[in-house]
């Protein structure tokens, strides 16, 4: 190495960025060169000076000063323009992303479905049969469940969610869930919900205090195929993590005995089950472990882990089982507070699926690429991200609010207050009247966008119906096939979705969303014309 090369590399050298070979060559050169050594020292001196000065300056703390100044300034601005700031929270309205809701709902459904329809093997566990016999004798019991969801989706940087449930089950009255959901991104906002499954009344009720809403679903009807309400009830039991059903499921599929271990001082025996058909294709890498008290033969702990889509990981643990507790009829009496409104329940029916397909195509202009609930949510998330990014951005929305501010300057205080009390729609109308024509066009655009976002928000239920329906078809091994990537709403005669009803019948939903029952031969004909 010569002096010029050495000089060239000195900074990289003291910054520790050189590879082994270069570093050795440079050190070798420094050892023997009287010109470069002082040069090295000079560079080191300057580095020291920079680091020292950096430290001195880094010692100042502006954080609180800046934040205080911002709050002061913000309060001042709020006082100056009481009306405008309230009206124009457009970006917030636009960015309320309904996909998070869909994804969380999907995760909850999947956890509830864990252990469902796993009729893969004929192998029947002997030990687990004893567990089941034991559990079936219990009249009422209680357990806790914790679910943690981590990962990201397009447009949503991270969506960590936590859910804590206490579940009470009674043979006499039914099942009650008390759910607390935490959103760490929203400053740890907690939402509580109650969920009741009441077999005597053939009804399922969900109460959502945050939205002041409740959802009631009857067991009768509402099924993908003709089913009695008893079948529906059996299905409901499964969907609610009833340990009895879960054990039956595990018994009916391939599992491995993990041998003995210890949990909280109790000797337990473990059973692990992994099955790729889990969760109707929406659950990937599912891993379910059940730990049973080796002496009493009652479940102690259950772990359910799986992935949804590529990036979302769900882990849930069921623990703290309390067997043979005494329960009261009142514990299972849903109290719907005054003023709560009813919302329509997502239904896993053919009609629900058609409705879901229709609303999806209405807004996005095409059918979903896949029907798996996570893929649905991700496709929608990608659309929302793109949609929110185009056309009107925040900068423009705020420029508009400047214009509105200017228009307001001529109004007196009393008039502004009156305006502020009007309902949002009228308020916006009034504001529009005060603005020049071109601004009206812009506001209209923003409002249209807002409406579409609201529509997407309302679609949550339909998308859930669609996803659930498809999931049920997969789980019940009804040979579903879906062609949303090539079939459009204009393709009247092309098969969009089909599933098997019996050996001689298939049900088909066509591109224009009409449905027919066809023979296997007819189906083969219909599918022959589809692009491969």
């Amino acid at each position: 190495m010569n002096c010029a090369e050495c000089k060239e590399l000195l900074v990289a050298y003291i910054e520790g960025l050189l590879d082994e070979a270069h570093r050795c060559a440079l050190e070798e050169h420094l050892k023997g060169c009287r010109v470069c050594r002082p040069e090295e020292q000079a560079v080191r001196d300057l580095q020291m000076r920079l680091v020292k000065n950096g430290r001195t300056i880094g010692g100042s703390n502006l954080e609180n000063r800046v934040m205080d100044a911002i709050i002061r300034e913000q309060n001042l601005q709020l006082k100056k323009t009481p009306t405008e700031t309230k009206i124009f929270k457009l970006r917030r309205i636009l960015m309320k992303n309904p996909v998070v809701k869909i994804a969380v709902a999907a995760a909850v459904v999947l956890v509830c479905l864990a252990g469902l329809h796993l009729w893969t093997g004929t192998k029947s566990g002997v030990a687990l049969a004893d567990v089941l016999a034991k559990v079936e004798q219990v009249q009422a019991f209680m357990y806790k469940m914790k679910m943690v969801m981590t990962g990201a989706m397009p447009g949503i940087p991270s969506m960590n969610r936590e859910m804590d449930c206490t579940i009470t089950t009674s043979n006499t009255y039914g099942t009650r869930w008390d759910i607390t959901m935490t959103d760490p991104n929203g400053h740890g906002d907690k939402t509580t919900e109650q969920f009741y499954v009441l077999p005597n009344r053939k009804v399922q009720i969900q109460i959502m205090p945050k939205q002041k809403k409740y959802m009631q679903m009857e067991f009768d009807g509402n099924c993908s195929t003709k089913q009695s309400s008893d079948d529906m009830l059996a299905k409901m039991k499964k969907q609610n993590n009833d340990p009895r059903e879960m054990i039956k499921q595990i018994m009916n599929c391939k599992y491995t005995d993990l041998g003995r271990s210890e949990i909280d001082g109790i000797e337990v025996e473990g059973f692990r089950m992994t099955d790729s058909a889990f969760g109707g294709g929406a659950m990937e890498d599912a891993n379910i472990v059940l730990w049973v008290d080796a002496e009493k033969w009652l479940p102690v702990r259950m772990e359910i882990d799986f992935k949804m889509g590529e990036q979302i990981q769900v882990r849930s643990v069921i623990y703290d089982y309390q067997w043979d507790i005494s329960v009261d009829a009142n514990d299972f009496e849903p109290v719907i507070p005054e003023g709560f409104t009813s919302i329509k329940a997502p239904s896993s029916t053919e009609d629900g699926a058609i409705e879901g397909l229709k609303s999806f195509a209405d807004i996005l202009g095409h059918y979903p690429k896949k029907l798996n609930i996570m893929d649905l949510a991700q496709e929608l998330a990608a659309f929302i991200q793109e949609f929110a990014a185009t056309d009107i951005n925040t900068g423009e929305a705020l420029q508009l609010s400047e214009k509105i501010k200017a228009a307001f300057k001529s109004k007196d205080e009393e008039e502004l207050k009156k305006l502020d009390k009007l309902p949002e729609e009228e308020k916006i109308k009034k504001i529009m009247e005060m603005l020049p024509e071109e601004e009206k066009v812009k506001i209209n655009k923003i409002m249209e966008k807002k409406k579409i976002m609201e529509k997407i928000g309302d679609m949550t239920r339909q998308i859930q119906s669609l996803g659930r329906f498809y999931m049920t078809l997969v789980q019940e091994k009804k040979e579903p096939a879906y062609y949303g990537e090539s079939v459009t709403p204009a393709d009247t005669d092309k098969v969009l979705l089909r599933w098997k009803v019996s050996d001689s019948e298939y049900r088909v939903i066509f591109g224009d969303l009409h449905a027919e029952t066809v023979t296997p031969e007819k189906l083969a004909e219909l599918e022959a014309i589809l692009p491969k």
Binding site: R49, N53, G58, I70
Partner: protein, 179 residues
Amino acid sequence: MTETDRYYIGRCLDGHPDDYRHLVRRYQAVLLAHLAGKLASKDRAEDAAQETLVRVYFNLDKLRKPESFFSWLLAFADRVAKEHQRKDQIRRQREAIRSFSQDVPVPELSQDYALESAIGELPDDYKKVILLRYYGNHSCNQIAQQLDTPLGTVTKTLSRAYAMLRQSLQQQHKEFSEV
């Protein structure tokens, strides 16, 4: 503090002003170093940095590319510094007229004004690398990521910046000795 600038900007715009705190934490030292060279006083640099950060906050919605938050911040700081310098000049002129014969008080210099002003004179690209490396505590890899350039370029820029700083400091030293 691992989230990107874009993430925190989005959070602020979505109605979580408190998340601006993270951006302040991330860039305050860099900003102070940048301003100290221009304003020759630690207190004044702090005032200007505060003003810059507040102004930037209220203009976040106008930032088209959140990735370039850092460059944008420096541009704001330059504007604020210029305003402060102008005000200072007027104030000093007034004081000079008022107290004719009295000495105008020399502003309190920051720790290493020579270094800070030398940094202040660097061309933008070189300044950014020096500021991020020594005042923002970024590794060279992080700088490469932040400025969206290859690591090799960062190393070269840093080398060149060192050379310029040394030259500028020597020059200052010479002028100082001559006086």
